[in-house]
Amino acid sequence: MSDSQARVPEVTQVVEGALLAYGEPLSIERIQGLYEDHERPSREAVLTALEALREAYQGRGIEVVEVASGWRVQVRAEVAPWVGRLWQERPTRYSRALLETLALIAYRQPITRGEIEQIRGVAVSTPIIKTLTERDWVRVVGHRDVPGRPALYATTRRFLDYFGLRSLNQLPPLTEIRDARFFEQALETPPEPSHHHGDQQDEGR
C-alpha cells in the first residue's frame, strides 16, 4: 500500500479527521484500528488526542462528547438553533404514543408488546413498533417463553447515542410513585375501615 510511504500524521489529526468524517460515534478501538500494526497509537494516546480536541473546541461551534458507542463530534447546543435552520422541515415530532412506548421499552426492557399495552391501557400500533425498529432505537432481543412466544424488545446503543446518553443509567430517573407506602398497602393489605367512609361520601351523589 502506498500508505506506508506517507508520513504518519499526528494522532490528534487522524482522530479529528475520523470523528468529523464519520458522523457516528467511534470507539477508541475503532480509531486504533485505522492504523497499521506498527504505527498504532496506544489507548492513552487516543484518549489524550480526544482531550486535546475537546480543549481545542472550547468556544467553537462544535464539541467532542462521549456517548454509548464511543466518541462523537457534534454541533454545540448554543449554535444548534441557527444550524437547525439549514433544514427547512422541522425535525419530526414524535407522538406521545411513540414516546410512551419508547419510554416503557427503555425503562422496563426486555418487555413484550402485551406488557406495554397492559401498562398503557391501549393497543400499541404496529407502525410505532416499526418506526422504533427502523430508527434502530429498539430491537427484538428474544422471545418470552409463554404461548405465542411474544418478542421481547430492548433499546439499542443507537438509541442511547441519539439521545446523547452513555448508558441506560443516564436516563432521567423514574418519578417516585407518590406515597409508595400506601400504594403497597393498597395492593397487599385490605384497606382500613376509614376508607370506607370516604367512599360512602359518593353515595350522596
Partner: protein, 284 residues
C-alpha cells in the same frame, strides 16, 4: 400534558354560556341534549372537541386527566364521581368520533364494576380477600402516570437532529476503499465437502474422474482460443512441459471438443488442424 391550555379554561367557561345557543345547536346530537348534559367542568370549545379527545392516549390517560384536573388523590379516588365523568366523556366520544377504541369501553366496564363493589356492604369476617376494589386501578394509574412522565422526560432530552447535529466532513475521493471479505482455503473446501455430500448420488463419479490439471488446462485452452481467429492445433502444446503436459493439453482439447465448446477445422486432408470457438459466429 397535551391538554387544553390552562388560559382557555376559565374564558371558555363563560364563552360557552354566552354562546350557549349556537353551541347547543352545534352539538345537538350529543346524547340528545348535548351541552347541558356535558360535565360542568368540560370546558371545551366545540370545534376543539375532536382535537381534545384525540389528545388522550387511552382510558388511563383520560382517567388521570379527570383525577388531576380536580386535584384529587390518585390513591383515594372518589370512584362514583370519576366513573360518572368518565362515562360522560365516553358518551361524547361515541357521538363525535366514529371509532371509539374498545379499551375505553373495557375501562368503563371496569369502573362500573368497581363502583358496584364499593356500594356492596362488607362483612367483617371476609377480611382475607377484602382488598379495596380500587387497588388494581390505582396501581395501574400510578404506573401509567410514571411512564407518561418518563415519556415527557425522554422528549425533553437533547437529541440528534433537533437539539444536536452530528458532523459530516467530506473525505477526499480515493481515500475510501471497501475491502471484500477474507476467505480461507479451508472454508472453500468445507463448502465443497457439503456440496459433494448433497450431490453424492448423481455427480460423484463424473467429478472425481477428471484430474484438476485437466480441468485447469481446459480453462487455459479456452483462454488461448478466446478470439474469433483460428488457432493452430500445434500452438496449444508446450513441448517444454514434457510428455505429461502435452498429454494433459491433448486431453483438454478432446474434452472441449466433446463438450462442443471448440470445433476442429481442417480445410483439406493433411492441412494444418486449427481450432476455434464453436458458435462464435452467432455470438458476435
Amino acid at each position: 400534558m397535551a391538554l387544553p391550555a390552562p388560559e382557555t379554561e376559565p374564558s371558555a367557561a363563560s364563552s360557552a354560556s354566552e354562546a350557549g345557543v349556537g353551541v347547543q345547536a352545534h352539538l345537538a346530537l350529543v346524547r340528545g341534549e348535548p351541552l347541558l348534559k356535558l360535565p360542568e367542568d368540560l370546558y371545551i370549545p366545540p370545534d376543539a372537541l375532536e382535537i381534545f379527545l384525540d389528545t388522550f392516549e387511552g382510558p388511563l390517560d383520560l382517567l388521570l386527566y379527570l383525577i388531576r384536573r380536580q386535584n384529587l388523590d390518585i390513591l383515594d379516588i372518589p370512584i362514583i364521581e370519576i366513573t360518572n365523568q368518565y362515562m360522560e366523556y365516553v358518551e361524547l366520544m361515541k357521538e363525535v368520533r366514529l371509532e371509539l377504541a374498545a379499551e375505553y369501553l373495557v375501562m368503563a366496564a371496569m369502573l362500573c364494576e368497581i363502583k358496584s363493589r364499593m356500594l356492596l356492604p362488607r362483612t367483617d369476617d371476609d377480611n382475607e380477600d377484602d382488598e379495596d376494589p380500587r387497588a388494581e386501578l390505582v396501581r395501574r394509574l400510578a404506573e401509567y402516570e410514571q411512564f407518561k412522565q418518563a415519556a415527557q422526560d425522554l422528549e425533553a432530552l437533547p437529541r440528534l437532529e433537533r437539539d444536536r447535529f452530528a458532523v459530516q466532513a467530506t473525505v477526499p475521493p480515493g481515500a475510501i476503499r471497501r475491502l471484500p471479505p477474507a476467505v480461507e482455503l479451508d472454508e472453500l473446501l468445507a463448502a465443497l465437502q457439503g456440496v459433494l455430500a448433497r450431490a453424492d448420488l448423481f455427480t460423484s463419479h463424473q467429478i472425481e474422474r477428471e484430474s484438476l490439471s485437466l480441468r485447469e488446462r481446459m480453462s487455459a485452452v479456452l483462454e488461448r482460443i478466446s478470439g474469433a481467429e483460428l488457432v493452430p492445433f500445434s500452438e496449444l502444446f508446450d513441448i517444454t512441459e514434457g510428455r505429461a503436459g502435452v498429454v494433459v493439453s491433448f486431453l483438454a482439447v478432446l474434452e472441449l471438443l466433446k463438450a462442443a465448446t471448440l470445433e476442429l477445422i481442417q480445410v483439406e486432408p493433411f492441412a494444418p488442424i486449427r481450432l476455434r470457438r464453436r458458435g462464435l459466429g452467432e455470438a458476435t
